[in-house]
Subunit: 132 residues, 3 copies
């Protein structure tokens, strides 16, 4: 089954927890054992799995990625968001999570995040579940 | 179905658009709804999804990754290409794209790129399509 | 089939070769043609594919990631391991390898690594194989 999650980012850069939405998509699909594919159809955003307990981790990650891939004087792309394209490829547009007994198999501290690197924008995340 | 795409890189570092080749592989496979797996069997290259419209983005990304992961005085690997191995793991050797109605589900601006970090070389990209 | 690989890291940061364990999981599953999903259920670790021949590459990669994502004065997360969370999202928690004729399709120099960024710890890697 394919599901589209709508995400509205409010800042230039932020990590938005979409675990609940992905869980709902898995539940609605009825898949008991299989794989959940998460895909971001944007080139200045990404999807990742990281800690869901302490919001300070998100603050630190956003700041770190900004320092690792800042705006550079040698950038030519006229839209001025090349740093966001770099972050998008560093973190990645696709990931998968195993489904077992109808549930996403995530570690105790893991949450799924939509990563905005060039917001604020209206965004989408695609979720596909396959039995197998 | 498994398909091998041959890629010839011409520079030390460059991103080569392979979207058309991956699309052909999907079409030949006849898969209508499923998943397309893209895999790079090399350790100094990678595969990513990013903007396909403005070539300046590729110029900026290649330059940015070079600055983020440069050659370092503490590197011990005798081949002198450790920076390319680092970039390979940062960007990743595997990704997937959802297939719907016989088509890759990519965002408006997305293209699939083979990322060369230690060229020029003759390279391969593996594509597998599965109905589901 | 689902398999859990137990990994014991001995250092703060190290890449541990788990190719043999993933191969065993594929063999036991009996899958002939399909996909092998590898997933790390931790938020300060990751999984990657890189060179398996020269240990110097691992030394260089660990050092490079440490330099790329160091501890930062602006980090707020009280556990003091935000740099490990950043590295985890840079390298990624999930990857897949194609299975053909009962074997993982890896390039000549490729090995699968569990990446520890906040050890030493007892860790797990989840492997799922699907025919298709």
């Amino acid at each position: 089954m394919n599901t589209t999650i709508n995400v509205k980012s409010l800042k230039k850069a932020e990590f938005i927890d979409i675990t609940r939405d992905v869980r709902s998509a898995v539940m609605e699909s009825g898949v008991k054992d299989g794989v959940c594919y998460v895909f971001v159809p944007h080139t200045t955003a990404a999807v990742t799995i990281n800690e869901g307990a302490d919001p300070a981790v998100l603050h630190d990650m956003v700041g770190a990625f900004d320092k690792i891939a800042p705006d550079e004087p040698f950038f030519k792309h006229a839209e001025g968001n090349s740093d966001a394209h770099v972050k998008s490829s560093m973190v990645g547009a696709s990931l998968h999570v195993i489904i077992s007994r109808g549930e996403l198999v995530l570690g105790t501290w893991q949450a799924i995040y939509f990563c905005e690197f060039d917001g604020p924008r209206q965004r989408k995340v695609l979720v596909k579940t396959v039995e197998g």
